[in-house]
Amino acid sequence: MALKQWLLSGLLASTCLVSVAAAGPIENYSPVTTERLKNPEPGNWMHYRRTYDGQGYSTLDQINTSNVKNLVPVWTFSTGVVEGHQAPPIINNGVMFVSTPEGQVIALNAKTGDEYWRYKRQLPEDLFQLHPTNRGVGLWEDKLYLATTDDHLVALDAKTGKVVWDTKVQDYKKGQYLTLMPLVVDGKVIVGGSGGEFGIRGYIVAYDANTGKELWRTFTIPGPGEPGHDTWSGDDWKTGGAPAWMTGTYDVDTRTVYWGTGNAAPWPGETHPGDNLYSTSVLALDPDSGKMKSYFQYHQNDSWDWDEVDAPMLIDLQRDGRTIKSLVHPGRNAIFWVLERKPEGIKYVAGWPFVYTNVWKSIDPNGKPIADPAHKPGIGKRVEFCPSLWGGKDWPSAAYSQKTGLVYVPANENFCGGFTGEKVPLVAGKLWLGTKPEDIGLTPRPGATHFGELQAWDPATGKKVWSHNFPKSQLFGSVTATAGDLIFVGGTNDRMFRAFHAKTGELLWEQKTNSGIVGMPIAYEVDGTQYIAVQSGWGVDAQRIQDALVGKVPGLENNVPQGGVVWVFAVKK
């Protein structure tokens, strides 16, 4: 073949390849209605935790304890992005939407892995990405919604990936950013801001799904004249943190949104005297107005960086001979919380430590934990405390199985830490922790035999039913439960993706992946076949913990390459 002919053939072939690889637009897309969001079909995963109640439970049971050993990869897809891939693949009738760090969304055929379209956010080159990640896209009608680290909320046409609207939420140059998956309720797109490490005032805000117009904004720190303002001193409320950077849950019956809030800023409590409402709390909000209906504060005057941003699961519990409409939250502060959604507001039911802690001496009858001052960081003194600042369970979500009645917790045991508090002037856009970042410690507890711990708790009795321990790794990944009596989780530094027996904790299956998994596993179905999907892509805090352990844990596996891949599994027939 002549050179010219060969080149022409190559060009034509390339053109074909491009058109095959990007097969979009999506045809026959299923519009997402309010009714579908309230009652998602078993084969779909359209919410952060599949359903509004945040349980992380799939009713699919084709893959179960008897056949999970035959689970094999059926397709994979490289995202081309490094850092922490934390988002659940979102599924709507055979279409998968995957979001990645750097604000990408990839639309894929959920059965074949073929790409329909890809959206690439053009991030500002001077962006300071403390948490370079994204936790998923919300769906409504024929649009999807992406919250970005340069603090925009973007609506895309779900069929083509074209931008429908793009709204600036706040200014990234002042440390404002977004990482969460938007919560869509009745045509409103609700998000909350990250940035607690930069001296911001936290908020939750709702936008019209069709236009991007702001509908309401509720600050998580009350201003002058608002209830709770007196729990702050002076002007601390203006910069006190309390970010709201994880997706909320939603009680459809009472039309109440529940949202978790982060710690007060900067870290040492001495720098912001008072209880600091509504930091480290769960807020109950009216989705139409943003008006606060009620709240419960998990702990007061936080000094440990213990965000409580993972929204509580809504579970009907049988306890003490009655059904409790509960809020269940295994906290970063090491306490497993059971609260009740009562007409008059959120009430404390029970709380107990699910990992070792030396911070809490007791919990009073109203649910207020009492701290030991010897383990509360302050100005000019180094204080050690357990668990570490990453807590007993950080943002990765627990799951609840409606079959077993158990809550499955990705816990970290035997990690302690500490830092020396100091007064630091606030500079817009710069870290404002109240300590030197390089002073933050992570120390294995003397005599520790393991660190990561997948736990199964009965929330009705407070009894731990089983646990699986990881001797050489943290556990930093969300958990998903299925009606096949399976518990799926990654989160360890050996790059494994695992399935456990929901009733016994027996390890039934594992698969090594390209990187470490900090993403959220999901279950879905297309044309009668059930699949399990997860993103593997190590980074952010899982990487930070890993790096902090180097040299402290003999034999620690520290070779966890970065780079995102979507993995999809099915049972080999």
């Binding site: 490094v82 990408q104 300071f128 403390l130 370079p132």
Partner: protein, 195 residues
């Protein structure tokens, strides 16, 4: 004198006196001044970015041998504009033993003083720490966001963590006893997006 000045008058006044910027109305932030967002250029001097001497020109004798690094901004000596309009212009300056520097690094140093971008090339966080390397006993630059470490003695090559490439170097010279920029950054400043 500072009431309702025109933009030109305000800038000229500020340049002449260094005063009035904070209280002027309409205010012109320093980052709005012409040239303040341009990358450091040959002939720029370096000034302290923070501390009691913020704004003062840095001289080699101001630096402690062996570190820690000093945070600096480039400053145009002709216009007196400090190029702090972009955080990508922030610079780390550190004085090291010349014999410790590899040949390439020594060629960009002024004596033992070397300079690099202060922005981590991983995800754009600032490099804030000067600590013992995770894999050795020498002090290195560290980005505490994601733990990347860079050795300033070896062109700031990555010695730990997820950063994909070395920090951009800023070649230095001395002029009239002050540190000056000898050439533009070598390499792209800041993080790079996936393609």
């Amino acid at each position: 004198m500072c009431q309702d000045p025109t933009r030109r008058a305000l800038i000229l006044t500020a340049l002449a006196t260094g005063a009035c910027l904070a209280s002027a109305r309409p205010s012109i932030a320093e980052e709005d001044l012409p040239g303040s967002s341009e990358r450091p250029q040959k002939g720029d001097v370096l000034v302290f970015a923070e501390g009691d001497r913020a704004g003062e020109v840095i001289k080699p004798q101001d630096l402690q041998a062996g570190g820690p690094p000093v945070r600096a901004w480039p400053k145009d000596p002709k216009t007196s504009v400090v190029r702090k309009g972009s955080r990508l212009n922030e610079i780390l300056v550190v004085k090291l033993e010349p014999a410790e520097l590899d040949e390439e690094t020594r060629s960009r140093a002024a004596g033992g003083v070397v300079a690099y971008s202060a922005i981590c090339v991983h995800t754009g966080c600032p490099i804030t720490a000067w600590v013992k390397a995770a894999g050795g006993d020498k002090d290195v630059f560290k980005c505490v966001c994601h733990n990347s470490e860079y050795d300033p003695r070896q062109s700031a090559q990555v010695v730990f963590g997820p950063a994909p490439r070395r920090l951009p170097a800023l070649p230095l010279a001395t002029d009239d006893g002050s540190l000056t920029v000898a050439a533009a950054f070598i390499g792209k400043v800041g993080a790079q997006q996936a393609r």
